[in-house]
Structure formats: structure tokens, C-alpha cells
């Protein structure tokens, strides 16, 4: 008899994997084990609506307890797997789990700053619901907020902090914002847009220390010796994929758990999905941190475990809400060699189309959902928009679609 599936990590990818196994008709036991105290929930609102008090914890949950119960998915919350072999696992609380199929959906942990003062009271991170709770409790009392890191999470939180009336400074080490994710055109837009909204942005500035008095944060020290006064610091310098368990099993890891297009790790009976994985991308191995990727890989991993055909590959997509600026991204821009701007960034409504060897590979759309969607549709259906016409913002993008050469 099958001892079933163990899924380590109960978040976006793990919850999807469990649900998809049941949808595929798998009837063996499923244990979905998660270190956090909550049922799987959504992280995106932690730096958006939830941080602003627009949704509560119940609204974050992906599914209700009844959902898992009705499908025979056993969710073990507050349990951390500390020892792992291919057929059994032990948790920190001493529970032993046996299984014959294994999925790792362990995600990533926040990267901490390796500078003096990084552990001072008043230094925040943002990954789990408790982080957002702490930040939300502190923001109304903060007068000067420094956000370290100009990535999505940092900029979303900076926009939220502004609405609480704090003076906000974003410190970014690179020479542009969102450097890993978007083109310089989009970076430049966000720089100007945040500045227009009163956020101070310092580029090319490395943080060398966090200053404090009596254990409380009081400022952020930069490489040039400047000290920015702060009573609240949010560190948003990215995440580190969790690979400890994979390493215990001897799985190949390289900046994440290496998987193939079927979400298989280097041990073919073990699958992995979500933020913890590195997968083949258009321009070399790539680690994607997005809900869409976690969900899509979760579905693929379930199909692999259940022995079903691989579901159709989805076009990657992502969104980021920074105050009233809605960014929607379709496709993967890595490896592009040309960009075309559609519309006027000063109007805060525009799109950037990315091309590689003449073919459309991605779209960034700011407050332009139609362009985002047409881009997504084009990528899904093998269509393109000729680069020499894409800039004609007076014509709807969908009228410019043609078959890819």
C-alpha cells in the first residue's frame, strides 16, 4: 500500500501541489507540512492591502480548513522538517512521517544585512504575516522610515509607509531601481514616480551599518559616511532559497534546488516547486519568485508525481502594486536585446515591450492592463507585435498582433 506523498512547505506552491494531486485523481494520503502556524496564505498582500489594513488574516488564506479536510489533505502547521530521507522525515517536534513520494516546496527566507546593527529593534523584514503585523503596528508611529533595497517588496512598502505620513527614504546599492526585473526605462519611470510622490530615493548607495541607541534603531549609515536618521528601517534586499533539506538528500543545488521542466530534481522521484527552485530559462537557469510560478510549477510537479502528462506551459506573469501604480509583467525579459516604449511614462500609463532576435519575449505594463493582456496572449499563442509598430500607442496593441515569423 502506498504511504502517500509528503509535501514539505505549506504555502503557495505546496498548497497547489496538494490540490492538483487530488484533481488528478490521486487518492493516496497527502501530508502538507508547514513551519508556519497558519494554513497556506498569500504573501503579496503583506506589502500591499494587508499592510494598509484593507484585508485581514482570514482574507489572506488561500483555502479554508474545510477545503483540505474534504479532500483528505492533512495540513500539519507549526511543524518544521529537520531531517529528511527519500522515504521518511522527522520534524523538530519529534514527529516521524513516512511516505513514498516527496515534494519540496520550501520557498525562500529573507536575506539579512550582514552589517553591524542589523539586529537592532526597529529593523524590519517582510516575508511572513507576523512581519507585516509588526510593520503595520509600527508604521503609524514612525516619522522617518528608511527602506534598504529598491526591489518590489521595498518599493511597495515604501509606498505604503508614505500613506501613514512618514518621511520615506529608499536606499538602493545598484544604479537603478528594480534592476533585476525590468528594463532601465521602467526603472527610470519608478524612480521619477516615487520621487514625485515625495519618496527620497538614493541610488548607488551601499549600507555599511545600522546605527542605534539603547538597542533601538536611530539611523542608517552609508558607505560615504552619511547617516540617514531613521526610527524604522525595512530591509528588503531579496531572499535566499532554502536548500538545506535538499542538500541533506544530496539533490543538486545551484542558487536553488535544480529542477527540470517536469519539476523533477536530480533524484527523479523527488519533485520541487516554487521560490526554492532553479529551472531552465530562455537565457540559462533562472529562479523565479512569483505566485504564478509557484502555482504553475506546483501543478507540473503534481502531474509528474501522479504520472499524468505535463500541463501546458504557462506564460510567466507577475504584478506589483506600488500605491496607485499597477505594474503587470508578462513573459521573461532576461536575454532581451531590444526594447520598445509604448505611450508616455510621464502620463503614468505606458508599456515596455521586450524583444529577443526580433521576437516578442515580455511586456511590462504600468496602469495598462490591456497591453499586459495582449502581451500575455501573444506569448501564449505564438504571436508577436512587429517592433517597428509596437510604439504606436494610438493603436490598440491587439490590432498590431501578427503571427510570429
Amino acid at each position: 500500500m502506498s504511504t502517500g506523498t509528503l509535501i514539505v512547505g505549506a504555502s503557495q506552491a505546496g498548497a497547489q501541489l496538494a490540490a492538483s494531486l487530488r484533481e488528478a485523481g490521486d487518492t493516496a494520503p497527502i501530508a502538507l507540512v508547514g513551519h508556519e502556524a497558519h494554513l497556506p496564505y498569500q504573501r503579496p498582500p503583506l506589502s500591499k492591502g494587508y499592510l494598509l489594513g484593507k484585508t485581514d488574516a482570514t482574507g489572506l488564506a488561500l483555502r479554508s480548513a474545510a477545503y483540505y479536510a474534504e479532500r483528505g489533505i492533512e495540513v500539519l502547521t507549526g511543524e518544521r522538517v529537520v531531517e529528511l530521507a527519500v522515504d521518511r522525515a522527522a520534524t523538530a517536534r519529534g514527529r516521524t512521517l513516512v511516505f513514498d513520494r516527496l515534494a519540496l516546496t520550501v520557498g525562500a527566507r529573507v536575506r539579512r544585512l550582514a552589517v553591524p546593527g542589523a539586529e537592532l529593534h526597529g529593523v524590519h523584514h517582510l516575508r511572513v504575516v507576523a512581519d507585516s503585523d509588526r510593520l503595520r503596528a509600527a508604521l503609524p508611529f514612525a516619522r522617518r522610515v528608511v527602506v534598504v533595497g529598491g526591489g518590489f517588496v521595498g518599493l511597495e512598502a515604501a509606498a505604503a509607509a508614505g500613506t501613514f505620513g512618514a518621511e520615506v527614504t529608499v536606499v538602493e546599492a545598484a544604479d537603478r531601481l528594480l534592476g533585476r526585473a525590468v528594463s532601465p526605462l521602467t526603472s527610470e519611470f519608478y524612480l521619477r514616480a516615487h520621487r514625485r510622490r515625495g519618496v527620497r530615493v538614493l541610488l548607488g548607495s551601499a549600507v555599511t551599518a545600522i546605527a542605534g541607541t539603547g538597542g533601538e534603531v536611530s539611523g542608517v549609515v552609508l558607505a560615504d559616511g552619511t547617516e540617514l536618521p531613521a526610527d524604522l528601517v525595512l530591509v528588503g534586499v531579496g531572499v535566499v532559497p532554502r536548500t538545506e533539506l535538499a542538500e541533506q538528500l544530496g539533490l543538486l543545488c545551484s542558487g536553488g534546488i535544480v529542477v527540470d521542466p517536469d519539476a523533477r530534481t536530480s533524484i527523479p522521484t523527488v519533485v520541487a516547486a516554487g521560490d526554492c527552485t532553479v529551472q531552465p530559462g530562455p537565457a540559462g537557469p533562472i529562479r523565479i519568485e512569483s505566485v504564478q510560478n509557484a502555482v504553475s510549477q506546483g501543478k507540473i510537479a503534481a502531474a509528474t508525481l501522479a504520472g499524468c502528462p505535463r500541463p501546458a506551459v504557462e506564460v510567466p506573469w507577475f504584478w506589483s502594486d506600488q500605491g496607485d501604480l499597477k505594474l503587470q509583467i508578462a513573459g521573461i525579459s532576461a536575454g532581451h536585446d531590444q526594447t520598445v516604449l509604448r505611450g508616455d511614462p510621464e502620463s503614468e500609463r505606458f508599456a515596455v515591450l521586450y524583444y529577443r532576435a526580433g521576437a516578442l519575449v515580455a511586456v511590462d505594463a504600468v496602469n495598462s492592463p490591456a497591453d499586459y493582456l495582449v502581451g500575455r496572449k501573444a506569448l501564449a499563442q505564438g504571436l508577436t507585435v512587429p517592433a517597428d509598430q509596437a510604439g504606436a500607442a494610438d493603436r490598440p496593441l491587439k490590432e498590431l498582433l501578427v503571427a510570429a515569423p
Binding site: G59, L62, W317, P369, V374
Partner: protein, 107 residues
């Protein structure tokens, strides 16, 4: 608590208690109604929460917003008069008994 009734593509009807202030999408996903996928969690980025609002509730629900309209135009496979993205409908006392049909395919 207001009730929201979901008509599934297999013809069955499920009435669920909804929290005021939650979206119709959240009401559906938390009750495990499979046809509402809601991949973006209500961020108006996926259109996988498409529903058809039954005629007698169209006025109470009101028309779609501009972005929602664009999303549905491009992303939903079978757009009808009652088409709405359920993440954009907020449950209120006035919507008690709201009946929506879940399309067989998302988006």
C-alpha cells in the same frame, strides 16, 4: 451573514455564508469552489475569477470598472452581459442572495 449562491457548471448550486467586505472571489475560494481559480488573489491580473452574475442582480452589482472591463475583454473566453471578475464584487448586506454562475473554463 449575506448568502452568495454559486451555480456550478455541472448544474449544482451551492449557497455559502459570506463575510461582509470579502469579495465574491474570496468567498468562493475559501469554500473550495473549484471553478474560481483566482490565481492573482484579487489583484486584477489574472481574470481566472470570472463569473456570470444572474440578471436579477446585475443592477445591484453594478458595471465593471475600466481595468476590469479591459481584462475581461481580452482574457475571458465567453464574455456575457453578466460577466464580472468576482474579485471586484464586494459582499454587502444588499447583495444577500446574490447568485452567480461559474463558467466551465477560466479565464
Amino acid at each position: 451573514m449575506p448568502k452568495v449562491v454559486f451555480m456550478l457548471s455541472n448544474g449544482t448550486e451551492t449557497g455559502v455564508d459570506a463575510r461582509i467586505g470579502d469579495s465574491v472571489m474570496t468567498t468562493a475560494t475559501q469554500h473550495g469552489l473549484d471553478g474560481v481559480v483566482a490565481e492573482c488573489g484579487g489583484n486584477l491580473s489574472c481574470a481566472t475569477c470570472h463569473v456570470w452574475v444572474r440578471d436579477d442582480f446585475l443592477d445591484a452589482v453594478g458595471p465593471p470598472g475600466e481595468m476590469e472591463d479591459d481584462m475581461m475583454d481580452l482574457a475571458t473566453s465567453d464574455r456575457r452581459d453578466g460577466s464580472r471578475l468576482s474579485c471586484q464584487i464586494t459582499v454587502s448586506e444588499d447583495l444577500d442572495g446574490l447568485t452567480v454562475e461559474i463558467p466551465p473554463e477560466q479565464p
